[in-house]
């Protein structure tokens, strides 16, 4: 009753735990996939943080609360949010940094990669070239519609904040743009019949730099749609799929007159290659003019031409973009390893194509030959820390060479988490030897332009200390559970054996013993009925009766031997002495039982086997040897236990009796516990049966490896002699 109660309670608790776990998992999944998780969303650019934004191309950096991409890359993206967001609106301020491109928002995006249209989603952007809102769908391809800004708005200008709002509800996509939130915005609306249902949001710019701020994402309903549509000049598009791209169709792009954008101008003929700057006298201040492409704008401006790079300090700070072709004139100053152009007047000549990085080894970079140059190096990340103004400082080494990479604040906290120590990284940036950056700790530092310029080539090796500890704990648990399982199986086996024995005992009792008894009674009846004169027949019948009685006694003995005996190791000796007492009951045979050594607890299997062997030995002694006394001795030693059954009976010639069934049976039992059985006897001297059984070392926490090894060895040994484990067949 009790055990079943306990087991049912355990089952109840188990199912309860499983239910809770399942519900928890379902709840967690539902929460993660909820279309409203994390909404409404407000950016934290103002506090200098951009957690959770993921860059695909571009040079994304936070500058005084504004997220900027200074590159003119075609289709630089920065994404965030949940891939399960469905109906929502995104609004914020957008600024174009270049003349010819566009910038805006991505909605319902998924499956993003680096590349122009490498995402599935919608893009809504402001395009200065044709003064319109461009609205399109990307899916590793591009289809768009453009909606000219309404007449009430001025023509679109570069370096002006526009308020852009995009709303997606069902398959309807609405965008509105205005100079200020107060003015009636230009509206563009579109219904995509086979629309993309859900996805993240993002910032994107195309062939122009862009700046974004105050981004808010909210859930959107039909009500919001109506409200938005009511607010402005609707430029509704027919409900047809996006037409295929035809840029030539964009009629009459009204190029805006530039406000403060530098006009392309002719280059100064007096420019010199940048590398020649170091030929200038170290003492005499000198002026020089160089021409090159801007490779870095923050924390300092670097300009590079085909011969090398130089740091430029502007006399009048002017916003430059990476990739601008500039002409800079200023005073040449020499630092320890590099030249600097101070008080420089910088003229932007035109917007060029950013130059690619030169791939060098850290050793090459450390020679100074690539100072102020845009390079690409590989190294193992050894340390990460925050430096001045939340910039991220990464220390690398590659072989014996160490270097440092410095990343502008912005997305550094995200990177700080993502980058794992000891992983192999490739970083791109401007190599500088300035001690202001290296801290005199490394020969050079790399000023990384954006988080996108760090590639993880290989994660940290698996054999980190933590992993090794986890692995060894795992192995330990595995070994312990294997050991536990082994013992459990061994127990089951023993139980099966005991059950089978019991069945055999029943069988024998119910058939063999009963028949023998019945035949005995029948013989007795015949004997009584026979006339007294038939003496010889009487004698034969007496003999037969005696045989039958003997057989019955034998059968009873066998049944007794097969009956289960609950054996605890401490009463092995008791059990054997009881057994001996019973065997000699009614006779004058003396039984002496003793034990020596510290009694170890024996496993059920060993105790049982020793008991069976002892029982057999005692029975043999009583049956055949006619002893005066029986000595049962149990000797405990460190790793073994020895059982001696000693009789002072008749004894026998050793060779003859070694293969009798009884001895073979005992030997077979002994083998099952890897024990050794010895029978010593000589006529007239009595017999001693000695069983020596090794004790399994106790499995303690410290000894488990040796213990498992021994178990393994033992099981291997037990498996081998399949044919030999039946001594009956062996002896023929």
């Amino acid at each position: 009753m009790k055990p079943s109660l306990i087991s049912s309670r355990r089952a109840l608790l188990g199912s309860l735990a499983v239910t809770i776990l399942t519900l928890g998992t379902i709840g967690l999944i539902a929460h993660l996939q909820s279309p409203t998780r994390g909404l409404p969303y407000f950016d934290s650019f103002a506090t200098g943080k951009a957690e959770g934004w993921q860059a695909f191309g571009g040079t994304w950096a936070l500058v005084s609360g504004v997220m900027r991409n200074d590159s003119d890359e075609r289709g630089a993206k920065l994404l965030t949010g949940s891939a399960y967001w469905e109906d929502y609106s995104i609004e914020g301020d957008v600024m174009l940094l270049g003349l010819d491109g566009d910038a805006g928002f991505i909605v319902r995006s998924s499956n993003e990669e680096e590349g122009v249209d490498a995402y599935d989603g919608y893009y809504v952007g402001l395009r200065s070239r044709d003064n319109s809102i461009v609205l399109g769908r990307a899916g590793y391809g591009w289809a768009e519609r453009s909606f000219p800004m309404s007449a009430s708005q001025d023509s679109m200008q570069v370096l002006h904040w526009y308020h852009l709002k995009v709303l997606v509800n069902g398959c309807r996509l609405i965008a509105s743009a205005s100079i200020t939130t107060a003015a009636a915005p230009t509206l563009a609306s579109f219904i995509d019949d086979d629309c993309i249902r859900r996805g993240r949001i993002g910032l994107r710019s195309y062939r122009s730099g862009g700046a974004w701020r105050s981004i808010v994402v909210r859930l959107a309903t039909q009500h919001d749609v109506d409200q938005m549509l009511a607010r402005g000049n609707i430029r509704d598009a027919p409900s047809t799929p996006f037409p295929s791209t035809d840029f030539s169709d964009l009629s009459n792009p009204s190029l805006p007159s530039s406000v403060d954008l530098p006009q392309p101008s002719t280059p100064d003929p007096g420019t010199i290659p940048i590398t020649n700057l170091r030929l200038y006298a170290l003492t005499k201040p000198a002026k020089a003019t160089v021409r090159g492409l801007v490779t870095l704008t923050a924390p300092a401006i670097y300009v590079q031409d085909s011969t090398g790079g130089v740091a430029v300090q502007q006399a009048m700070p002017k916003r430059l973009k990476v990739g601008d072709e500039v002409e800079a004139s200023g005073d040449v100053r020499h630092d320890a390893f590099s030249s600097i152009l101070e008080h420089a007047m910088v003229r932007v000549l035109w917007e060029g194509t950013p130059i690619p990085a030169v791939s060098v080894t850290p050793f090459q970079a450390s020679t100074g030959a690539f100072d102020a140059t845009f390079i690409e190096v590989e190294g193992h990340l050894r340390r990460k820390a925050y430096g001045l103004g939340d910039s991220l400082i990464l220390d690398f080494d590659a072989g014996s060479q160490s270097f440092r990479a410095i990343l502008n604040p912005g997305r550094s906290s995200y990177l700080y988490r993502e980058l794992k120590l000891d992983s192999l990284l490739r970083v791109r940036g401007i190599a500088v030897a300035d001690s202001a950056y290296t801290g005199n700790l490394t020969p050079f530092a790399v000023l990384v332009r954006s988080s996108d310029d760090i590639d993880v080539l290989a994660g940290p090796p698996w054999w980190s200390a933590g992993h090794l500890v986890i692995m060894s704990i795992g192995l330990l648990i595995l070994a312990l559970s294997a050991n536990l399982l082994y013992q459990r199986i061994e127990n089951w086996r023993l139980h099966a054996v005991v059950e089978e024995r019991e069945r055999l005992a029943y069988e024998m009792h119910d058939t063999l013993a009963q028949s023998v008894a019945g035949i005995g009674f029948q013989l007795e009846a015949i004997r009584v009925a026979l006339p007294k004169q038939l003496t010889s027949v009487h004698q034969q019948l007496d003999l037969a009766s005696q045989f039958v009685r003997h057989s019955h006694a034998e059968a009873r003995r066998s049944v007794d031997m097969l009956r289960p005996h609950q054996l605890e190791s401490e009463d092995l000796l008791n059990a054997l002495s009881n057994c001996a007492d019973r065997l000699v009951a009614g006779s004058s045979v003396k039984v002496i039982a003793s034990s020596t050594g510290d009694a170890h607890p024996l496993t059920l299997r060993i105790a049982d086997t020793l008991f069976r062997i002892g029982q057999e030995a005692l029975a043999n002694a009583v049956r055949h040897a006619e002893p005066k006394s029986l000595a049962i001795t149990l000797e405990y030693e460190k790793n073994l236990v020895r059982l001696l059954i000693d009789d002072n009976g008749r004894g026998f010639v050793e060779q003859q009796n070694q293969h009798s069934l009884g001895v073979l049976g005992m030997r077979k039992r002994a083998m099952s516990i890897s024990a050794n059985l010895e029978v010593r006897s000589s006529p007239g001297e009595g017999t001693v049966v000695i069983v020596t059984a090794p004790l399994p070392p106790r499995a303690t926490f410290g000894s488990w490896p040796a213990f498992s090894w021994k178990l393994l060895k033992e099981s291997a040994r037990n498996v081998k002699p399949v044919g030999k484990s039946y001594p009956y067949t062996d002896s023929r």
Binding site: H509, G520, E524, V548, D560
Partner: protein
């Protein structure tokens, strides 16, 4: 003696094995003073026979297909039969013997007993005495005496018999009260009794501790 028409002892054999029944019937049939009235192969059958016929002595096997011999014996006694019972079995454990005698068997025989001894036993039991062979008697005594109590449990049982509380025993023996309680529970379980008072009574009855 209850049946004056014949002075022969009327016997019922209860054994599920036909060879045994036939053999016993033949063997006991050779004796003039005995009369094998019937033989039954199950407990139910035996009880039915006892309802119908006047029986003096029942030779009862312990293992029967429908109910064990002791159960049959108990039911017989409960329904008020006056027949005397000899257990006739081919196998015996101490427990079997103990329970059979407790249930009210007057004799206990092993099936390889000789005819002469068996007749003697039947006669003795019929004469309202007990017949228990020496070997069986010894084992019965052993079973009655046996205690599975550990020395510590015996010690504690003696204190319990003196009327000490667990707390007092813990103090005297120098172990915790919790351990004493554990030992007492173990004693109660081993003696198969309900509480500590009964444990003491039983222990005294069985001679485990001195009164």
């Amino acid at each position: 003696m209850s049946n004056p028409s014949a002075s022969r002892i009327r016997i019922l054999i209860v054994d599920d094995h036909p060879v045994v029944r036939a053999g016993l019937t033949s063997m006991l049939g050779t004796q003039d003073e005995l009369e094998v009235v019937a033989s039954a192969s199950s407990g139910q059958e035996a009880l039915a026979f006892l309802q119908e016929q006047e029986i003096d002595v029942v030779l009862l096997d312990l293992r029967l297909p429908d109910m064990i011999g002791v159960e049959t014996l108990l039911r017989m006694k409960r329904s008020g039969h006056r027949a005397r019972v000899i257990i006739l079995t081919s196998f015996e454990t101490d427990e079997d013997i103990y329970r059979a005698i407790q249930a009210g068997a007057q004799g206990y025989l092993i099936k390889d007993t000789s005819l002469a001894e068996m007749v003697e036993a039947i006669r003795t039991v019929h004469a309202a005495k007990r017949y228990i062979p020496h070997v069986i008697a010894m084992r019965l005594a052993e079973r009655m005496m046996r205690v599975d109590l550990t020395p510590r449990e015996l010690e504690i049982l003696e204190y319990v018999a003196k009327g000490l509380t667990n707390k007092q025993i813990a103090h005297v023996v120098g172990i915790s009260e919790f351990t004493v309680k554990h030992h007492v529970d173990s004693i109660i379980e081993k003696l198969e009794v309900a509480d500590r008072t009964e444990a003491v009574t039983t222990a005294i009855q069985r001679g485990i501790i001195a009164p």
